[in-house]
């Protein structure tokens, strides 16, 4: 895989917060929370939020009260399941979906 051209260093991690007030404060930070932030409730209370940020932004977050920051150690790697080539051979092979064709009546319609 080629190296990305001069992109800023970004670390992946997660942030644990105790309550919704802290969650609201977290979402105002200059971090990448995904398409929309995802806050997974923890069994003992609080939420965990996956984030991406610059080392500086994550370090600054650690210094703020109410944010428990965990940075992933591993380097990003592309999924080994990303294929090469063209399964549909330029339009010669018809895609097949995952639905099962059925003869009887369905739940809907």
């Amino acid at each position: 895989m080629a190296e990305a051209p001069e992109l800023p260093e970004r670390l992946e991690g997660s942030v644990r917060v105790a309550d919704e007030e802290a969650l609201g404060r977290l979402f105002k930070q200059p971090l990448d929370f995904g398409c929309r932030p995802s806050a997974t409730p923890e069994p003992g209370g609080g939420f965990v939020v996956p984030v991406i940020g610059s080392p500086q932004a994550l370090e600054e977050l650690k210094q703020q009260e109410g944010f428990e920051v965990r940075v992933l150690e591993r380097k990003p790697t592309r999924s080994s399941e990303v294929g090469e080539g063209d399964r549909f051979e330029g339009g010669k092979v018809l895609p097949r979906g995952f639905g099962r064709q059925i003869l009887g009546g369905g739940d809907s319609g």
Binding site: E6, S14, K28, E81, F88, G99, I102, D107
Partner: protein, 407 residues
């Protein structure tokens, strides 16, 4: 990227009487031409639009769209219904979609970003427009889901205290940079073109990942149905949107019932596939059971699409939704790119949801004259006609609507 185009071409060639390849008018910044697939026996039927991959790293949206189209066309041709895990649809349901709707599937809105992310694996979100970057690769790209003409100028339309982390940004280095102007980006204009030129589009779902949500209008602020003048067009409320209390966005109660009911219906179908836990939510809120944490947005395509008929009475009403497929994993990378065994399950869930969405969109009854009227005035001549008629029609329509809708 090549596979998405090949798949659409194969479907268009394999089912020539049921679908057609639609070439989007604007090539991307890196000169890639995009295609969509229109499915249905009559292009003048009410339309449903699906788009995906506006955010480059959300790869699975294209697979979801391609396999949905493949299933729908194969089942209709075979005269069968379809089943996904614990959810099934009769052959009558499949037939009603193909014969009573015009379904447009646009699997990859952002081909440059997608190609870049697949090549370099950097979880890239935006498009690849370098125009505002001044030679700095860190400042390349615009967030296509902040680039649409809905409260785009967040500096004036929203409260300065509204969440800067979600709303939009005028810093090109930001992942939510909204661009130099509304619809400045060819990829965003391609989606607008689909809405403009498939004039009978009434339903729209923009597919993203991940949080396991189906989101309905609005995304800028809390919904309200009691105060029509309090709405996005009213400049008296500029500077007040996007914060708790005060401003709330007007949505007619009938529309709110439609969008919230449809979202729940689709979510029920998704969850029936394998016992999932997708939720229907108003777009501005992160949690379905709490309004404590909000996520206001500016320039998002779902709000833009639904807002069009308020802003311009010559445009048809489009009920617009955003679907966030997949569930959060331990980290963002695994959430965006689940293993293929999991992705297969997600495709089945969302394809079932898309079929349910089409069934919700299919008109229960069509006036017998409607088809003839729409064929007499196809969109190719409707646009120029609308421009001529608009100065006459608009004042009349606005007078009729006075008191019933937002001003």
């Amino acid at each position: 990227m090549v596979e998405v185009e090949s798949a659409l071409e194969a479907l268009a060639q394999g089912y020539p009487s049921l679908c057609e390849l639609v070439t989007l008018p604007e090539p991307s910044i890196e000169d890639r031409t995009s295609h969509a697939l229109r499915i249905g026996t009559d292009s003048c039927n009410d339309g449903v639009l699906f788009t995906a991959c506006a955010h480059a790293r959300e790869w699975g949206g294209a697979d979801i769209c391609v396999y949905f189209a493949a299933d729908l066309l194969a089942a209709y041709t075979a005269g069968t219904g379809l089943a996904y895990g614990g959810k099934s649809f009769s052959r009558h349901a499949i037939r009603s979609i193909v014969e009573n709707l015009s379904v447009v599937v646009f699997p990859c809105v952002n081909p440059d970003g997608r190609a870049f992310d697949q090549q370099y694996d950097v979880l890239w979100r935006k498009n690849r427009n370098p125009a505002q970057a001044a030679g700095n690769p860190q400042r390349v790209g615009i967030d296509l889901n902040r680039n649409h003409d809905f409260l785009w100028n967040f500096r004036t339309t929203f409260d300065p205290a509204a969440n800067p982390g979600t709303l939009a940004s005028d810093d090109p280095a930001s992942d939510i940079y909204h661009g130099p102007a509304p619809e400045s980006e060819p990829e965003a204009r391609n989606v607008k073109w689909l809405l403009d030129h498939h004039r009978f589009t009434r339903w729209y779902m923009d597919i993203h990942s991940y949080t396991g949500d189906l989101l309905y209008s609005w995304g800028d602020d809390t919904d309200q149905s009691d105060d029509p003048p309090m709405n996005f067009r009213n400049h008296a409320y500029d500077g007040q949107r996007g914060v708790e209390g005060g401003y709330a966005e007007y949505i007619p109660s009938s529309d709110l019932n439609v969008v919230s009911g449809t979202a729940q219906r689709v979510v029920n179908s998704i969850n029936a596939v394998r016992g999932g836990h997708y939720e229907a939510k108003q777009s501005v809120f992160l949690q379905s059971n709490s309004t404590a944490v909000s996520y206001p947005t500016s320039g998002a395509v779902d709000d833009y699409s639904y807002s069009r008929h308020f802003a311009d009475c010559t445009k048809g009403k489009v009920y617009a939704f955003t679907l966030e497929f997949g569930y959060p994993a331990n980290d963002l990378r695994a959430s965006f790119h689940p293993p293929w065994s999991e992705m297969e399950q997600i495709v089945s869930e969302i394809d079932a949801g898309m079929i349910e969405f089409c069934l919700a969109a299919a008109p229960a009854w069509k006036p017998p004259w409607e088809a003839a009227f729409r064929h007499l005035f196809p969109w190719q001549i409707w646009d120029p006609m609308a421009e001529i008629a608009e100065p006459v029609v608009r004042p009349i329509a606005e007078r009729v609507l006075a008191g019933f809708g937002p001003r």
